[in-house]
């Protein structure tokens, strides 16, 4: 059984029909990268997977449970899905350690000693065990994003969602975050990553999904979708991304 199964997903904001029938699955342990032009609905898709947006139609099935269903325990489902945002969204009034323990103690009802141990282990995993006592404001963007990853990992999620985790970072800080994500993938974490980092997608992804205009245009192994795209829209997009200075003839 697939870890996540998305069926015929539709989402509109007013008259703006953003997702127009999305179907795809993520298997246990799989790393799926979602690419596509700005405004194609990538973030919206990701946000529907943990119901930060409520779709108008369709199903999101996580571990066999339809989380769009009214009877589903939404908070419990969400606590199994880690989310990493473009803007980090660390809690600025809490220390790095408290950022990683607050949901453990309140949602998972772990004891504070246990929560702290788990948080420290995950901060160690992202290479920040020396920043435990710091506050988010005192960290660089790359460090903040790694704390955000540790915060999500501390909930022992079955699935990690990343929405352009490196887009808000200075170029020299991107590598640290991608290294952490690469390591996560090697550890067998199931990941759904929206990214513009084509090199990362090519290297780490098991599958690449190309979205445009609210539909999935093409998907498959990175060597096919990025290396040898079949659809014209995919080809145009990749030409623009891989060669940003190239000017399209009009």
């Amino acid at each position: 059984m697939a870890l996540v199964e998305i069926k015929n997903l539709h989402k509109s904001f007013g008259s703006n029909h953003v997702l127009r029938g999305i179907d795809f699955t993520v298997e246990q342990g799989e790393v799926v990268c979602v690419i596509g032009p700005s405004g194609s609905g990538k973030s919206t898709l990701l946000r529907c997977v943990n119901l930060l947006e409520i779709p108008q139609e369709g199903q999101v099935i996580v571990r066999g449970e339809d989380i769009c269903d009214r009877d589903c325990h939404l908070d419990a489902a969400r606590s199994q899905i880690g989310m990493v945002f473009q803007q980090f969204n660390l809690f600025p009034h809490l220390s790095v350690l408290a950022n990683c323990t607050v949901a453990q103690t309140t949602v998972l009802k772990r004891g504070s000693a246990e929560a702290e141990k788990i948080a420290r282990a995950n901060l160690d995993r992202v290479g920040l065990n020396d920043k435990v006592k710091a506050f988010p404001m005192q960290l660089s963007g790359g460090q903040q994003q790694r704390v955000a990853i540790a915060r999500a990992l501390s909930m022992d999620p079955a699935l990690m969602l990343f929405d352009e985790p490196t887009s808000a970072l200075d170029p020299e800080l991107v590598g640290d975050v991608l290294t952490v994500m690469r390591k996560l993938a090697l550890d067998g974490m199931t990941m759904l990553v929206v990214t513009h980092e084509m090199a990362f997608a090519r290297e780490v992804a098991d599958r690449v999904v190309f979205m445009d205009g609210g539909v999935i245009v093409e998907q498959g192994p990175p060597a096919e979708v990025i290396g040898n795209p079949q659809q014209e829209r995919t080809q145009n997009f990749l030409r623009r991304v891989l060669n940003p200075t190239h000017v399209e003839p009009t």
Partner: protein
């Protein structure tokens, strides 16, 4: 139409010279006023009516400090009620449940639109209107309630603005960790909102210190006098304003440091941004 340069040429003064001349004129007016005041006023009379040393001394002996403590107690209790009520009202204002929003809006508009003194008069008449009715912790209960329900209306708007100033991503991050809405509000949104509104809330506290003077409308007994009631009573007795002036200084001792604190907090918040 003459251009600015024409004027300068005609008067023969540069803009800087004109600014300097205007400054000297302002100083001149000030000095003239001071001289008139110094010559015409009867300083001995003023001194003995407003600042008579023996009356200052007897104000202390008659319980100025107790009155100061009462003012602080009345203010503190009302602030707590205002803070709790204001937070509740702010959350109601932002609720997805329509009727909660309407109730909160009606409450806030009602008590902000009303002079606080009307509320105090109403509270002073309550025991008469409802026979046998008592508000617990007399006189504190009445004072705290009367001050608190008005303060809650003002604080609600401040706190609502603070909650809305917390970036949306904060709530989303909390929800994505599986926190239910109430928990996320309590642990993540409200602590940040209060940090944002600390300066305006301190301003509300200053207003509350001053509004606690309205207590004398309720007609408390002498033992419950706060600063204004105390100063007024003693000023009546002596037919001299010195006790009231002394009480007034006590207010400044509280409000001026708070005012400085507000400016510090504002500067700090501006730097953090």
């Amino acid at each position: 139409m003459s251009r600015p340069t024409d004027i300068v040429e005609r008067k023969g003064l540069s803009p800087r010279q004109r600014a300097q001349r205007s400054r000297w004129i302002q100083y001149g007016i000030l000095v003239a006023l001071l001289i008139v005041a110094g010559v015409s006023a009867d300083w001995g009379q003023i001194g003995s009516v407003f600042f008579k040393p023996e009356y200052i001394k007897s104000a202390f002996e008659d319980g100025l400090l107790q009155a100061l403590v009462k003012t602080l107690e009345y203010t503190a209790g009302a602030f707590v009620i205002g803070l709790l009520g204001g937070t509740l009202l702010a959350l109601m204002r932002l609720s997805i449940v329509g009727p909660y929003r309407w109730i909160a809006t009606a409450y806030i508009e009602f008590f902000r639109g009303l002079p606080a003194i009307v509320v105090f008069i109403a509270f002073s008449l309550l025991p008469l209107a409802f026979e046998g009715m008592t508000i617990p912790f007399d006189p504190y209960g009445t004072v705290w309630l009367a001050l608190g329900i008005v303060a809650a209306a003002y604080m609600a708007e401040v706190i609502r603005a603070g909650i809305q100033a917390v970036p949306k991503g904060q709530l989303e991050a909390a929800r994505s960790l599986g926190m239910p809405a109430g928990l996320a509000t309590r642990k993540i949104v409200l602590p940040q909102a209060f940090r944002i509104v600390l300066p305006p809330l301190t301003n509300d506290l200053i207003l509350l210190v001053k509004d606690s003077s309205l207590v004398f409308i309720i007609g408390t007994t002498a033992s419950a006098y706060e600063l204004t009631g105390f100063g007024r009573d003693l000023a009546n007795t002596y037919a001299n304003l010195t006790p009231l002036v002394t009480a007034g200084f006590c207010y400044l001792i509280i409000t001026l440091p708070l005012g400085i604190l507000v400016r510090r907090l504002e500067a700090k918040a501006a730097r953090a941004r």
